[in-house]
Amino acid sequence: MAQDVNLAVRIATVLDAAGLNKADKSVKGFEKSLKSLGKTLGITLSATAVVAFGKKAAQAFIQDQKEAQRLTTAVKNLGLELSAPAITQYIDSLSRASGVTDSQLRPAFQALLTTTGSVTASQKALAQAIDVSAGSGVALETVAQDLANAYVGQTRGLRKYNLGLTQAELKTAKFEDISKKLNAQFSGANAAYLDTYAGKLQMLGTAAGEAQEKIGASVIELAMAVTGASDVEQLISRIASATDFAVARLDNFIEGWKILKAIINSSLGEFKKNIQAVQVEEFNRRMARDYMQAWEGTNLPMSPQALAQQKAAEAAARKRAQALAKVTTKNTAELKKQNALKKAGTVFDLEQIQLIAALRGKLSDEDRKRVEAQLALLNNNDALAQKLTREILMAQDATGGLYRYFLTIGDAKIKNPFAFLDDWIIQFQSKLNNLKFPTMPTATATAVSAATSVSGVPAGQPWSPGFSMGGNNTPGASFPSTNVGTVPTGNFTYGQGNPLNTNVYVTVQGSVIAEQDLTETISRNLQNSSLSSGKVAQLERYSGFFL
């Protein structure tokens, strides 16, 4: 009694293995008798095992066919299409003779064939590769690739076979020499291997594998015959259709069962609703099935209640969308307003106050107009800004040329209406720069030995300093700073003063000739001029003769 109760506290448990041992013994006995029965009847495979074997065989065949197709394509691409059946036959017979599976032989042969381009050479090399593989323990595919490389002069891979050749010898060795060496070292290795027990087992395995592939081919052919498919693609399609059919029938059954259940559990008046609910649920569930693909996007007929519900949901969604759009618009407007206010606030703080303060002060008419124009621009009052700009420009150039020039540069909304003045002033300034200044008489300048520095004059510009010397010039004395007039230089901007009033200061340093020397020089020149010969003469007063 107590042992049947689930809800119990079991105290002091004891391991009683008797029952387990008994059960184990019984299972083993049953297994044994089953095996003996199988042996008696000659049946060693259950139905499941048969199906599994069939499946495996079919898979092996499919894989084998894939590899065979790869080789056939390679052969075809090499222009040896006609040799393809012979190659297949050769691979099969080589597989049986060497105990190497065709799935190993095919890639090896393909590697050799694509390199050598000759079926005979490839067959010979493959036979050799089998021996080398058996003798060296290197995989056949690797050996074949090494041989293929050696055929085109890449002998690096052959080092692992220990042929007794130095690196230099290997590099310079011809394929024939290498082949001879390999033959000498590994010839008959595979035959010797096949003589061993392991070799025989391998051969048996290969034969079994081949048999499995053949059975696989038969299984697929059988399936094709049963389904009436002409090729594997059609077979797959028919299997899919058959599966879909079976799945659809099962789904129908499930749906029917659920509807029945809904009817049983429903009260009067709820049948229709509940059945429809089951149908909708089942339709949605079955939409994942392959056979329902054609129904994708199809809507189920809906009940008036469902339609009303859908309409209500759509209306609610529309309302929500409208509300959202309204909120978004409001937010955007608010954002714009805030931005504008922020900007206006900043501008007001930084610029507008200054302008207004400037207007309160004493300004000339022209300056006042300029400030007013700038203020108008800040407040986006285009009309006023344009009007004031015109007045300013007309005041500067009554002919209207300046204003026309302003109009030609276009954008009336430019932030600085006086920006064009810069260009105009620069043009004007360059004209001033090109003006020639009167040069000073050179007679006095030659007598001056002075280091002259000029401030405010661009380097290399031709100009002559015009300066006048005062009466107090003494030898060794420095020249005072001299105002030499107006020299327009550099870029002038409006408001920095009239360029014509620019002062340039020239400082001349050094000693000047004494008055006596000057008198002597002048008198000597006068004497020279009085001589008829025109030669340079020297008048020596003390000696009393002329040269």
Binding site: A2, Q3, L7, V9, T13, D16
Partner: protein
């Protein structure tokens, strides 16, 4: 945590065969150890007025008649057994068992131990879920077992050992051959 005792079943079989009186004595000793727990567990069962009225047996119809609560039935359902239990899937058998076999008692014992003290029914049971792990938690026998703190197990083992000693003495003295 179950306590494993080796040889208890064999001892019992031997007692039954060679010393039936001693076998009965051993059962009595084990029963004495188990009774306090059963008494406590029964004490944890609520009276009929304490359970939700809708659960009372007298208010039930159909298949729920056997599941409806009745304190007397639930009390009777809590008991003990000193017979060796059936081996479970792992091959273990118990020397003694305290069980709660009535449907209503089982409901009271286990309600809410998986989903918690939620809903309309479980919170109104008012008992305390006690014990270790989900399977050893409950309001009646498991609560009593948790309160016992292993004293009963020790008592049962001591009873078995006492009988074992007695058997050894009898064998030595040549009463049992």
């Amino acid at each position: 945590m179950p306590v494993e005792v080796t040889g208890a079943i064999e001892l019992r079989k031997a007692l039954k065969k060679y010393a039936p009186d001693l076998a009965k004595e051993s059962q009595k000793e084990i029963a004495t150890a188990l009774k306090p727990i059963v008494r406590d567990a029964r004490g944890f069962l609520p009276s009929n007025s304490e359970v939700p009225s809708g659960w009372l047996k007298e208010n039930q119809k159909g298949k729920w008649q056997n599941r409806g609560y009745d304190q007397a039935t639930a009390t009777k359902g809590i008991s003990y057994s000193t017979a060796a239990g059936k081996a479970n899937r792992q091959g273990f058998r118990s020397v003694a068992t305290i069980y709660n076999k009535s449907a209503a008692g089982a409901i009271y014992e286990t309600a809410g131990r998986k989903s918690g003290n939620v809903g309309q029914f479980t919170p109104r049971l008012n008992g305390q879920l006690r014990g270790q792990g989900q399977k050893m938690t409950g309001r009646a026998i498991f609560r009593a077992w948790a309160q016992d703190q292993g004293k009963t197990t020790a008592a049962v083992i001591k009873a078995i050992e006492t009988i074992n000693d007695k058997v050894a003495t009898l064998v030595k003295s040549g009463v049992i051959k």
